[in-house]
């Protein structure tokens, strides 16, 4: 069993004059966000969030604005100091680090991509992409070489000597992504990285990210308020509301078993056929039963791709194979239709 790359344990963040004093009200008496604001004039940013983030996965943290998701991600590199709780990265307690250790952590182990790009306007694209390396103290030639590599990878070849102000939003965020990747850090923090882009460009950027992730296998924490984006990118999804964790699981879990009405409301408009996989429908065969003569499909086939073949299969059912090749069970068209309309 692998260890989680990042562990967040019972994290609290309260904004205000004396956060430590009001922390017990929230932690021990369970005071909510609105009540806390009214009674003590403190804002509850993060409320008892625990989250294990596994290596080489994209962990999406989703929530509407004000749900504390951007506050949460800033605790991972301690751009924000928590009021209570723990953050552990590769077994090391981030909150126990002094300034020097913290800088080393930020330089070598993680990088960040921002919603508003936050590029350095006075530096060229090449210099922006090489920024993290320059901070690390890498030599000039090495910076130029590695920056060029990432500029090429995000498709900005030819723009090396332009300034960020000359580029469109989508291109600027490619620079942001290249800057984040150039340091070769294990962890990539993406704070609503694609939210400021228009839908088509956002879709492009998601594709670039997925493509890169396929070969880089980084641990990515991705913040978004967009459910479609969360479902498309996330290996795991955590949903926050008012600073508290409402539900975590993979996309299918959340769509098939929403924890409460808040999430049910969230998912009501999505295309379920794109999320639900045959795995969720598979019913094991009776012991001793011979499998019927029908087509086999892998368990991770999405319903949108499976519906047509299922309708054409004899008896309108198919067999589902697990990732290890073992037979998981059978799935019928009527089950599929029910799953889509729950």
């Amino acid at each position: 069993m692998t260890e989680p790359k990042i562990q967040i344990k019972h994290l609290y963040k309260i904004f205000g004059k004396t956060p430590e004093k009001v922390l017990p009200l929230v932690r021990d008496e369970g005071m909510g966000k609105d009540e806390l604001l009214e009674k003590t004039n403190h804002v509850l940013g993060v409320n008892d969030v625990s989250l294990d983030i596994w290596p080489k996965q994209i962990q999406v943290v989703m929530g509407l604005s004000g749900s504390g998701k951007s506050t949460l991600i800033r605790h991972i590199n301690r751009l924000i100091e928590p009021t209570g709780g723990e953050v552990i990265i590769d077994g090391e307690d981030v909150l126990a680090m002094n300034q020097t250790q913290l800088r080393e952590l930020r330089r070598n182990k993680m990088s960040m991509v921002f919603q508003k790009f936050a590029l350095l306007p006075h530096r060229t694209i090449r210099e922006n992409v090489g920024y993290g390396l320059e901070i690390q103290g890498v030599g000039e030639d090495e910076i130029a070489r590695r920056a060029q590599h990432w500029i090429d990878r995000v498709g900005l070849t030819g723009y090396e000597d332009h300034y960020p102000g000359h580029l469109s939003g989508g291109m600027q965020q490619r620079v942001g992504l290249a800057r984040g990747l150039a340091t070769d850090a294990d962890i990539l923090l993406m704070d609503e990285a694609f939210s400021a882009l228009d839908p088509l460009i956002r879709f492009d950027m998601q594709s670039i990210l997925l493509e890169l992730q396929n070969e880089l296998h980084k641990t990515i924490v991705f913040i978004t308020h967009d459910l479609d984006e969360a479902l498309r990118l996330g290996d795991n999804i955590a949903i926050l509301r008012d600073g508290a964790m409402v539900q975590q699981g993979d996309a299918q879990d959340i769509v098939l078993h929403p924890a409460d009405d808040y999430i049910r409301d969230f998912i009501k408009d999505i295309n379920r056929a794109k999320v639900i996989q045959l795995r969720a429908l598979a019913k094991p065969l009776e012991p001793g039963e011979t499998p019927p003569e029908v087509p086999h499909f892998p368990a991770n086939t999405r319903l949108e791709d499976a519906l047509l073949p299922m309708s054409q299969a004899p008896g309108q059912e198919v067999l589902v194979d697990g990732t290890d090749g073992a037979l998981l069970g059978r799935a019928s068209l009527s089950d599929a239709i029910r799953a889509l309309h729950e």
Partner: protein
């Protein structure tokens, strides 16, 4: 009864006069004790100032014109500004004000250099600490608003008449804008960009030199421009305590009602001001060439 309301109950003439006398005596004592030490302290500055003035006056005028033209071109990259700058100096020379202009140029250059040297670090300090800002801001306010003649008194008492006290008077008046604009420029740097620098593990030094100062540079440069303008405006007052230059004939014109002399030298000061302003402003604009051309 009525009299006690119209007359403010002040400390009384004799008390006030004793008090003032005591302060004056105290300062005179201070001046006697430390005046010479202070003068020695400022001696290198005086030598430099004299050397620089002589250099400007003794350099053949075509070379000066060439240097002016080159500086104007390097600063503004505009033939118009370069041409007009050289032309203005030619006119000044033709009207017999060359030597005074060189003397003024010398003190302005040294004053501006010192203002940058002292002012930018103070501005950085103010930007980094709110406490420093609350302490320094009122001092700057006083420096900018107190009538120059008031601080000329102690300066002259301490250092006598001459170039150095004149330079100090110019500095007191001209340093606030560069301090303020350095502070403002650094504080106006986009917090998102600073957060990004933090997220990549930049040290405070890396943030200051790599992000804050470069991004504050247009504002810092506006401060340099203001400093130059304000030191030029002090030229006449400085001439009252023995600084050579265009202020001296203006002062003479005021005392003797010489209209033409006053106008000519006054206009020469204006010409210098406009030249410096245009050159430094267009240089400042070039510093932020990366802005504004964006397609949004």
């Amino acid at each position: 009864m009525w009299e006690s309301l119209t007359e403010f109950p002040d400390l009384g003439r004799s008390t006030l006069s004793t008090m003032k006398k005591a302060i004056d005596a105290g300062f005179k004592g201070f001046s006697r004790t430390y005046g010479e030490a202070l003068e020695n302290f400022f001696n290198p500055l005086l030598h430099f100032l004299v050397w620089f003035e002589k250099l400007l006056i003794n350099t053949p005028w075509p070379i000066i014109l060439l240097v002016i033209g080159a500086l104007a071109w390097l600063g503004s990259r505009s033939w118009k500004v370069t041409g007009l700058s050289v032309l203005a100096f030619v006119v000044i020379g033709v009207f017999g004000m060359w030597e005074d202009t060189m003397a003024t140029l010398a003190i302005i250059s040294v004053a501006t250099f010192l203002c940058i040297l002292i002012g930018i670090p103070i501005g950085i300090l103010m930007a980094r600490s709110d406490r420093a800002q609350t302490m320094i801001t009122p001092v700057l306010d006083v420096m900018q608003t107190i009538p120059s003649f008031v601080y000329l008194i102690p300066v002259v008492m301490l250092l006598g008449i001459g170039k150095v006290p004149g330079l100090i008077a110019v500095l007191i008046y001209a340093i606030p804008p560069i301090v303020r604009l350095t502070n403002l420029g650094i504080r106006l740097v986009d917090p998102d960009v600073l957060e990004a620098a933090d997220a990549f593990g930049a040290s405070p030094r890396q943030k200051l030199l790599g992000v804050q100062i470069p991004l504050a540079l247009p504002n810092i440069f506006a401060g340099v421009n203001q400093t130059i303008m304000m030191s030029l405006s002090m030229v006449v007052i400085a001439s009252m305590i023995g600084v050579r230059g265009l202020g001296v004939p203006v002062l003479r014109a005021v005392q003797n009602q010489y209209l033409a002399l006053g106008m000519m030298n006054g206009l020469a000061i204006v010409a210098l001001a406009i030249i410096f302003d245009r050159i430094s402003q267009s240089y400042g604009k070039r510093l932020q060439a990366y802005r504004g051309q964006g397609r949004d």
